[in-house]
């Protein structure tokens, strides 16, 4: 059976590392030229230059390792890259919602505990619901209870008891 040839991952990584080291070297030397500290022993650019040189060396080694391999291994059995990408997208949407959504802060005291509802609680409930549904939870009771209770428990523990500010 013919093996499909890929650009070996190690070759990709090696090239990326060489590019990164080249950029870091250029950045450090440019910073040195614009700096008032011209003594290399005291220059803030010394350490970045050294790390850039080492990174270039490692990049070349990894590139060589990649070129020595005849074919690339395929992704693991059962791997779900699209699902991971969607999850990342949902997490970023959660982050944006926390930044953009502004809600008034509402608080109520019950049995000596203060329950507060603000941006964090509302956005978190929506996020947990969506993410759990996406990951395959279909039990309506779980979908209803877990996001609300998790959000409230976190709010009480962190905001009320530990006095840690929430987003």
């Amino acid at each position: 059976m013919k093996q499909k040839r890929y650009l070996i991952p190690a070759v990709q990584e090696g090239l990326l590392l060489i590019l990164l080291s080249g950029w870091l070297l250029w950045y450090s030397l440019d910073a040195y030229n614009h700096s008032y500290i011209k003594d290399w022993a005291q220059s803030p650019s010394l350490f970045p230059v050294l790390v850039a040189c080492l990174l270039a060396l490692f990049g070349v080694i990894i590139l060589r390792q990649g070129l020595a391999v005849e074919y690339a291994a395929s992704a693991g059995h059962g791997a779900q890259p699209l699902q991971a990408l969607i999850l990342l997208g949902m997490a970023l949407a959660y982050y944006l919602a926390l930044s953009v959504v502004k809600m008034p802060y509402l608080a109520a005291t019950l049995f000596g505990l203060t329950f507060s509802v603000s941006t964090f609680e509302v956005v978190t409930v929506v996020y947990l619901l969506v993410m759990m549904f996406y990951l395959g939870v279909r039990n309506k009771a779980v979908l209803a209870l877990v996001p609300v209770s998790a959000s409230l428990v976190l709010s009480v523990i962190f905001r009320t008891m530990l006095r840690v500010l929430l987003p």
Binding site: V51, F58, I62
Partner: protein
């Protein structure tokens, strides 16, 4: 002695126990980790008293390392990296209907290992600090370099990948204002980056969110739990392996003291030693030999005390968790190093007392609570993972109250996920992130001193400690180069 007794307040004991309970669940539930919990605690305990913060964190650390064995035995998934070896014999025992016996052995020998490591911490910290006081800037630089060289070799099959991870960590550590000149580096005009990259969002992202992405990517969401039997176990029979335990605890403590190495390395080495020493076990190794559990659990818990030794005396963390604990120290204004025992004796005693209290909490929780939590550790991942993500957001926001840190956390999570995908270890990156600024400033101090000396090379390398560290670093680096490995094998 009076100081130690004064620490034993109900509040202190309660906080150690609270941390221990948290550590039990965090360590036992796959998907959560002691590193993640400790990283979250850095921001949660920010406004606490230092001793209170240390009490809680030591509880989480000591019991968290042990409780990885619970899921390792019951569901064949190690709750903590250091419990990987415990799955080799623990899970076969569970399948044979001896899960309680396996857990009993794991608890007793984790207790013995933890106590051994903490006794070593109490005894050895003073002498090592008196040597560390003679360290010069070049020695600190070489020690950190040795740590990075070592961790790169023990955490990855491909040594170069380990070093690449370390180099990436060094680059990230350079972001922000230069520690000596105060000029901005790699800031790109983003004012939030001027203070540098906070280690908490980086660690929470690398260990927390990256794990979420990895689990979803792998598609392995289901898990089954072995039934917990109620076999009676004789304590006398359990304690008959005390000699093996002391030997492997010594290995664990020494490996833990090595900057960059940690529980998984100690557990593997001890397991191999147990196989070498115990010629005729009742059950073969890998099929449910209790000696396998004795060796791995004694070693990975003895690592705790060992890892704290270089962290307290040299400010060089022994493993990822102590790297995070180092952040706690800086947040609370403590300065680990040769003078730590003298200047911050109260904090040193708090660590010791909290550690020993956590050992007793480990015993209680391991024998009575752990057997009952088998249903809880089987929380479906499609419920657990979203909650873990929210915890990561809370933890990364709490350290500086900035949403920018939450964004950083997601970025590091993506980086950590890609690193795992491509076989790059994360431990060297974490270590380099913590040590980077220290390495940079000490290296330039050493260069500046050498520049004005009569003989620069003698000034740099002419001292005994410097020579020893240089030789050790070269030994580790050259020992991992394939050419020298082949030469070594030919001679053998």
């Amino acid at each position: 002695m009076a100081e130690i007794i004064s620490l034993l307040t109900p509040r202190f004991i309660f906080l150690v126990f609270l941390g221990s309970v948290a550590g039990l669940f965090v360590g036992a539930i796959p998907g959560l980790s002691v590193s993640m919990a400790t990283a979250l605690l850095v921001s949660i305990t920010y406004t606490w008293e230092t001793t209170d913060a240390l009490a809680t964190i030591m509880g989480v650390y000591v019991v968290g390392v042990f409780s990885g064995a619970v899921s390792a035995i019951l569901i064949n998934i190690p709750g903590a990296p250091s419990s990987v070896v415990t799955t080799l014999d623990g899970y076969p025992m569970a399948k044979r209907g001896e899960s309680y016996k396996a857990l009993y052995y794991a608890t007793i020998y984790s207790f013995i290992g933890s106590v051994f490591g903490l006794v070593a911490l109490a005894v050895l910290t003073g002498p090592i600090a008196s040597i560390a006081i003679k360290f010069r800037p070049m020695d600190y630089f070489l020690l950190a370099l040795f740590g990075l060289a070592t961790v790169g070799s023990v955490t990855s099959k491909n040594y170069t990948k380990g070093l690449v991870a370390a180099a990436l960590g060094l680059i990230i550590s350079m972001i922000g204002l230069d520690p000596l000149a105060g000029t901005p580096r790699l800031v790109f005009g983003v004012k939030e980056l001027r203070a540098g990259v906070n280690t908490v969002p980086a660690l929470v992202g690398l260990f927390g969110f990256a794990e979420v992405l990895s689990v979803v990517y792998s598609g392995h969401m289901a898990q089954t739990v072995e039934h917990m039997d109620k076999t009676r176990v004789s304590l006398k029979a359990v304690l008959s392996h005390w000699k093996l335990s002391l030997y492997t605890s010594t290995i664990g403590m020494l490996v833990g003291a090595l900057p960059g190495a940690g529980g998984p390395v100690a557990a593997f080495i001890s397991y191999n030693e147990a196989k070498r020493l115990v010629k005729n076990p009742d059950t073969p190794f890998g099929e449910g030999a209790v000696e396998g559990i004795v060796a791995s659990e004694s070693a990975n818990n003895a690592c705790i005390g060992g890892a704290l030794i270089p962290m307290l005396t040299l400010a060089v963390p022994g493993d990822a968790v102590t790297a995070i604990i180092l952040s706690v120290f800086y947040v609370h204004g403590l300065k680990p190093g040769p003078m730590f025992i003298r200047e911050s004796a109260a904090s040193f005693h708090a660590i010791l007392v909290a550690g020993f209290l956590a050992c007793f909490a480990l015993l209680i929780l391991g024998l009575w609570v752990a057997p009952k939590i088998c249903k809880i550790i089987a929380v479906p991942k499609n419920i657990l993972l979203p909650v873990v993500t929210v915890l990561c957001v809370v933890g990364s926001f709490a350290c500086n109250n900035r949403l920018f840190d939450v964004g950083l956390m997601f970025g590091f999570g993506l980086l950590g996920f890609l690193m795992r995908l491509r076989g790059y270890p994360q431990a060297p990156l974490v270590l380099a992130l913590v040590l980077g600024k220290t390495m940079d400033s000490n290296f330039r101090r050493a260069m500046s001193l050498a520049a004005v000396a009569d003989n620069p090379m003698a000034n740099l390398f002419g001292h005994p400690i410097t020579m020893i560290l240089t030789i050790c670093t070269l030994f580790v680096v050259l020992g991992n180069i394939p050419l020298f490995k082949r030469l070594g094998k030919k001679k053998a």
